[in-house]
C-alpha cells in the first residue's frame, strides 16, 4: 500500500464525512481579522459557499480526521467491519487544507469529526490539537465545529469548547433500544451525560468572575446533535418527543435529522433503503413548529394518528385540517399565537401582519404582498374582502393540497 496523496486522502475522508447532515456555520461569537493579524471572520449568520447536487449546503470543510474506527455501528460507512478504503490526515494537513480553502473563500471554516482510533481520549486529543493549531498558531478566526467523542475525558471536552464555535455529539438513533441494537459500543447514557456536561460547562462560563471579568466563552454557537431517520423502526412522534427532550434538557441549537442513506459496503444487519427524504423534510418542518411556532409535540402527535407525519401535506397544514373548528381566523383580529397557526403564514408574515394591522384593515391583496402563501392560507383565514365560506369545512380540502398519487418507483 503506497502512501496516499493529499488529494486521495481528501477524497476518502470527505466521502466518509458526508453522512453528517449538519453544516451550519451560524451563531458563534462575532469576530473578524480587520486588524490584519489573523485570517477569518464570523458574522453570526452562516454562509453556504456552494451547493452540491444533493441540495445540501456546503459551508464548512466537513472531513474526518481518520475513517479508521474501532466501533461497529451498522448504519455507518466507517464501521470496523466495512471494507471501505481507509486514510488518516496528519493534523498539519487538516490545518493546511482549512486555511488554503478559507483564503480562497470556499468555506466558512472546519467541521472536524473522526472515527475512534486507539481510544476516545487519543482521538479527541488529536482533534483538539488541530483546533488549537488553527486558532493559536495561525490566528484563524473562522468557524470551527468539532464533533466530540462521548467517552472522552472532560478536560478534553473543555479544551475543545474553548477553541470551537460549536460542539456536537450525535445521539445517532431516536431510541436507546435502537442504539443498543445498531451501535453496540455506544452508550446512550454516556451520550446524554456528555451533552449535559457541555451545557454545564457553557453555563459555568457565562457567569462573570468576582473581578467582573468574563471568562473565555465556551462553544459560543452551542451544541447540536443528529439522529438517523429510517434505519430503525421508530415513528415520527417518537423522534419528535426525543428531540423535544433534547432541546429542553441540553439547550441544543439544532437536532439534525438524517435520512438513512445507502452507504458503500453496507452491513448485512441493516439492509439499504431509498433514503426517506420526504420524511426527513416533514420532520424538519415539525421541528420548526416546535421551536418557532409555539406548537407542543403532543399537538403535532394528535394530528398524526398513525404515529408518522403525513407525507402528502406539511405538518402545520395537517394540524389545521385536524383542527378546522378553530378556523377561519380573522387576520385583522386574531392574536399572534393563533396567526402563527395558519398554514402558509410564516413567522415573518405574522410580524408584517401585526405591523400593518396597526395602520389599517388588511385585505386579501395585502396578504399576498406581505408574502403569505395564499394558496395554502386561503381556506383558513378571513380578511376585509375575503371569506372562505364553506371552503374551510369542505370534505375534499386535504385533497386540494395533497399531490396526486404517484406511481412507485424503484431506486
Amino acid at each position: 500500500m503506497g502512501k496516499k496523496s493529499l488529494d486521495q486522502k481528501l477524497a476518502i475522508l470527505s466521502d466518509a464525512a458526508k453522512y453528517d447532515a449538519s453544516c451550519a456555520s451560524s451563531g458563534g461569537q462575532r469576530r473578524d481579522s480587520r486588524d490584519g493579524k489573523g485570517i477569518g471572520s464570523v458574522t453570526g449568520s452562516g454562509i453556504c459557499h456552494a451547493y452540491a447536487p444533493d441540495g445540501r449546503c456546503i459551508s464548512l470543510l466537513k472531513i474526518l480526521m481518520t475513517n479508521f474506527c474501532i466501533y461497529d455501528c451498522a448504519y455507518c460507512v466507517n464501521r470496523v467491519s466495512s471494507n471501505v478504503e481507509r486514510a488518516r490526515f496528519s493534523p498539519e494537513e487538516v490545518v493546511e487544507l482549512t486555511l488554503e480553502f478559507y483564503r480562497r473563500n470556499y468555506i466558512e471554516g472546519l467541521f472536524l469529526s473522526s472515527g475512534i482510533i486507539r481510544s476516545p481520549d487519543d482521538t479527541m486529543a488529536d482533534m483538539v490539537r488541530i483546533a488549537r493549531l488553527l486558532r493559536q498558531e495561525h490566528g484563524f478566526r473562522g468557524y470551527i465545529h468539532l464533533k466530540t467523542i462521548p467517552n472522552a475525558a472532560p478536560e478534553l471536552i473543555e479544551a475543545a469548547g474553548l477553541y470551537a464555535d460549536r460542539l456536537s455529539i450525535n445521539v445517532e438513533l431516536p431510541t436507546d433500544k435502537a442504539v443498543a441494537d445498531y451501535a453496540p459500543e455506544k452508550s446512550p447514557e454516556r451520550i446524554r451525560r456528555a451533552m449535559a456536561d457541555v451545557r454545564l460547562l457553557k453555563e459555568a462560563r457565562k457567569e462573570k468572575s468576582f473581578t467582573g471579568k468574563r471568562p473565555p466563552r465556551f462553544a459560543p454557537a452551542g451544541q447540536s446533535t443528529q439522529m438517523i431517520v429510517g434505519a430503525d423502526g421508530a415513528q415520527d412522534t417518537t423522534i419528535l418527543r426525543s428531540s423535544t427532550r433534547l432541546y429542553s434538557s441540553y439547550r441544543l441549537k439544532r437536532v439534525y435529522y438524517s435520512a438513512f442513506s445507502p452507504i458503500p459496503d453496507s452491513s448485512a444487519a441493516l439492509p439499504l433503503v431509498k433514503p426517506p427524504l420526504m420524511r426527513e423534510h416533514r420532520l424538519y418542518q415539525a421541528d420548526w413548529l416546535l421551536r418557532f411556532y409555539g406548537f407542543d409535540v403532543e399537538e403535532i402527535a394528535a394530528a398524526a394518528p398513525t404515529g408518522n407525519l403525513d407525507l402528502a401535506v406539511d405538518p402545520k397544514l395537517a394540524w389545521a385540517l385536524a383542527n378546522r373548528h378553530l378556523f377561519p381566523l380573522d387576520v385583522n383580529r386574531a392574536e399572534r399565537e393563533m396567526l402563527l397557526r395558519i398554514p402558509g403564514v410564516g413567522v415573518r408574515s405574522v410580524n408584517r401582519i401585526l405591523a400593518t394591522r396597526r395602520h389599517r384593515t388588511l385585505r386579501y391583496e395585502d396578504l399576498v404582498r406581505i408574502g403569505a402563501n395564499m394558496k395554502q392560507a386561503r381556506p383558513f383565514l378571513t380578511a376585509l374582502d375575503w371569506h372562505p365560506r364553506a371552503l374551510t369545512d369542505s370534505a375534499d380540502l386535504r385533497a386540494r393540497f395533497a399531490p396526486p398519487p404517484e406511481q412507485l418507483q424503484l431506486i
Binding site: 493579524k37 454562509i47 480562497r104
Partner: protein, 489 residues
C-alpha cells in the same frame, strides 16, 4: 426639472445628501431626475459635480422656500442603503418618492401592504440576496506574494452594483492578505489594510491555482448520490453564478451518474469483514478488570440500570446520594432538579445552594451528612428550552423507595431529615399535613427518627414578604437536627 448626477463610488452618501437637500427645499419627486455615473451624466449634459448640480441656483426656476428640517424613520435609511445598489434605473426616484410620502404618513414604512413600500422592500431584498451570494460565491485565486502579505484575486459578476457595499465583508474576513475583486462595473483592491475602488477593467487572466483541484475533489466526494435534489441546489445556487465557480463544472457529471452510483451501492452484496474487525471487536468486548463493585459503587451501578418506573427515559442519569457512609445524619429531598440531572449530584441547583446557606447559619455541616433524594430520576415536562419540574407520583415514590432503603441500610443514620412532602411520604408512608408536622420527630418504618421540615425549593417559590419567616422556621429545623446529632455524639 432638477437633475441630480450621482457618483459611481459613494453613491449612497451622495444620494442621501442630495435627497436631504431636495426635501429641505420642498422639491416634489416629479421634479427630480436622478442618474448615476459619468455615462449617464453625459447623456443628460449636466455638470459632473453632484454638489454643484444640487444647489438650486444652478438650475434657475423659482427656488422653493426651504421646508423645516426632516427626520426619517431609521428603517428608511436601512432600506435606502440597500436599494441604491439595485440596477433598476428608477431606484433613486422611487426612494425619493417614498421619502416624500413619509413626510405626511410617518407609519407608511410599516405598511407592508403598500405597493410603494412593497416594491422598495423587494428591491432591497434582491440586493441583499445578491450581496449574500457574493460573499458566498467569490472564488479567489492565489497570486503568490512579493512582501509578507499573500495576494489573491477574483473575477465576479454580480447581478446588482454591490461591490462597494460588500467590500467591508472581505476586508474583515481576509484582513491579513491583499486581494482584488474585479467586476464588470467596478474593481476593489485591498492592499495593506486599505481598500481602493477603481473603474472596471476587462476580465483579467488570473493564473491557475492548484487548490482548485483539491476543492473539486472535496465537492465531488461530499456529494451524496443517493440524495439527488437538483432543484434545491439550483434554487440556492442559480446557474448565473456557475461560470466563475471552479467546482460547478462537475455538476452535470455528478447528476448524470448519481442514480447508477446509488443503485450500485444498494445492489452490492455484503462483504466479509476485514480480519482486523474480529480482533478489535474481541478486544473491545473483553471484560475489563473483573472487579465486582462494592457498597455505594454497587448501588450506583444498579441504579444506572434501574427500569422500575419510566422516569429514566427522559432523564440524563440517576442521581445517587452522596456523603460519608458513616454519617450520623441523612438528608432526604424530593428528586433531582434540572442541574442535579445534568451534574449527576444531589442538591447542586438553586434549592441546594439555598440549603447550603441556611445550613451554614444553623451550624449543620453538609459534608458530614449523607445527602440524597426520595426519587432518583428527574421528572419534568419539556417546555421549549426549559424543563418544568413535576412532582413524582405515589407509584414512582414507592418504586424508588427500594433505593432509598438501600442507602439507609448502608449509612445507618442516627437521624433522617425529611425535606418536603415527597421525602415524608417515602419515609413515613404519609405525606399529609407537612406544615403541621414540621419540626416534629417521627419514626421511619425501621424506627430511625425522622425530623420533618419543608423543602428548600418551597422557600424559593414564596413571595418575598413571606420568605423571611419561612426561612427562619427552616433554619430552626436544621438547627434542631444539628443539636440532635451533637447530643448523640
Amino acid at each position: 426639472m432638477r437633475r441630480v448626477a450621482l457618483p459611481e463610488i459613494g453613491t449612497f452618501e451622495a444620494w442621501r445628501a442630495a435627497a436631504r437637500d431636495l426635501l429641505a427645499e420642498g422639491v416634489p419627486p416629479e421634479q427630480v431626475l436622478w442618474h448615476r455615473g459619468a455615462a449617464e451624466a453625459d447623456l443628460f449634459a449636466v455638470a459632473g459635480d453632484p454638489e454643484q448640480a444640487l444647489s438650486g441656483d444652478h438650475f434657475g426656476g423659482t427656488p422653493v422656500p426651504p421646508a423645516k428640517a426632516v427626520t426619517v424613520p431609521k428603517g428608511f435609511v436601512q432600506l435606502a442603503r440597500m436599494v441604491v445598489w439595485h440596477r433598476d434605473p428608477e431606484r433613486f426616484a422611487r426612494l425619493y418618492a417614498l421619502l416624500w410620502a413619509l413626510r405626511d404618513s410617518r407609519g407608511l414604512l410599516e405598511d407592508r401592504g403598500d405597493p410603494r413600500v412593497d416594491r422598495l422592500n423587494r428591491m432591497a431584498k434582491e440586493v441583499g440576496r445578491d450581496k449574500h451570494k457574493m460573499t458566498a460565491f467569490v472564488r479567489f485565486r492565489d497570486l503568490g506574494h512579493d512582501g509578507p502579505r499573500r495576494r489573491f484575486a477574483a473575477w465576479f459578476e454580480p447581478t446588482h452594483l454591490i461591490l462597494e457595499p460588500t467590500a467591508p465583508f472581505f476586508e474583515k474576513r481576509f484582513g491579513d492578505m491583499d486581494w482584488s475583486i474585479f467586476t464588470p462595473d467596478l474593481t476593489a483592491h485591498f492592499v495593506d489594510g486599505q481598500t481602493r475602488f477603481e473603474p472596471a477593467v476587462a476580465r483579467p487572466d488570473l493564473p491557475q491555482d492548484a487548490a482548485e483541484e483539491l476543492w473539486r475533489t472535496y465537492f465531488r466526494n461530499i456529494f451524496n448520490p443517493a440524495r439527488l435534489k437538483v432543484k434545491a441546489m439550483q434554487a440556492e445556487m442559480p446557474r448565473k453564478y456557475w461560470r466563475n465557480m471552479p467546482e460547478a463544472e462537475l455538476i452535470p457529471e455528478l447528476i448524470a451518474t448519481a442514480q447508477s452510483r446509488a443503485r450500485a451501492m444498494a445492489e452490492a452484496a455484503p462483504t466479509l469483514a476485514p480480519a482486523r474487525a474480529a480482533r478489535i471487536g474481541a478486544r473491545l468486548r473483553a471484560p475489563e478488570a473483573a472487579e465486582v463493585p462494592q457498597g455505594l459503587d454497587a448501588l450506583k451501578a444498579g441504579l444506572a440500570g434501574c427500569r422500575r418506573c419510566p422516569l429514566w427515559e427522559n432523564a440524563t442519569q440517576p442521581v445517587p446520594g452522596e456523603g460519608p457512609l458513616d454519617a450520623p445524619l441523612m438528608i432526604v429531598g424530593e428528586q433531582p432538579g434540572d442541574h442535579e440531572d445534568l451534574a449527576g449530584r444531589p442538591f447542586v441547583g438553586p434549592a441546594g445552594q439555598l440549603f447550603d446557606v441556611v445550613a451554614a447559619r444553623a451550624g449543620l455541616r453538609r459534608d458530614r451528612a449523607f445527602v440524597t433524594n426520595a426519587v432518583k430520576h428527574f421528572k419534568f415536562t419539556p417546555r421549549g428550552k426549559r424543563r418544568l419540574h413535576q412532582a413524582p407520583n405515589g407509584g414512582e415514590i414507592r418504586h424508588c423507595r427500594w433505593w432509598l432503603d438501600l442507602e439507609r441500610e448502608m449509612v445507618k443514620p442516627r437521624l433522617i431529615l425529611a425535606m418536603g412532602a415527597t421525602a415524608l411520604e417515602s419515609l413515613t408512608g404519609d405525606r399529609r399535613d407537612l406544615m403541621k408536622r414540621r419540626g416534629r420527630l417521627e419514626a421511619a418504618e425501621d424506627g430511625t427518627p425522622v425530623l420533618i421540615t419543608m423543602h428548600p425549593s418551597y422557600l424559593l417559590r414564596l413571595p418575598p414578604s413571606e420568605r423571611p419567616q419561612a426561612e427562619a422556621a427552616f433554619e430552626a429545623d436544621l438547627r434542631q437536627a444539628a443539636g440532635i446529632i451533637a447530643a448523640a455524639a
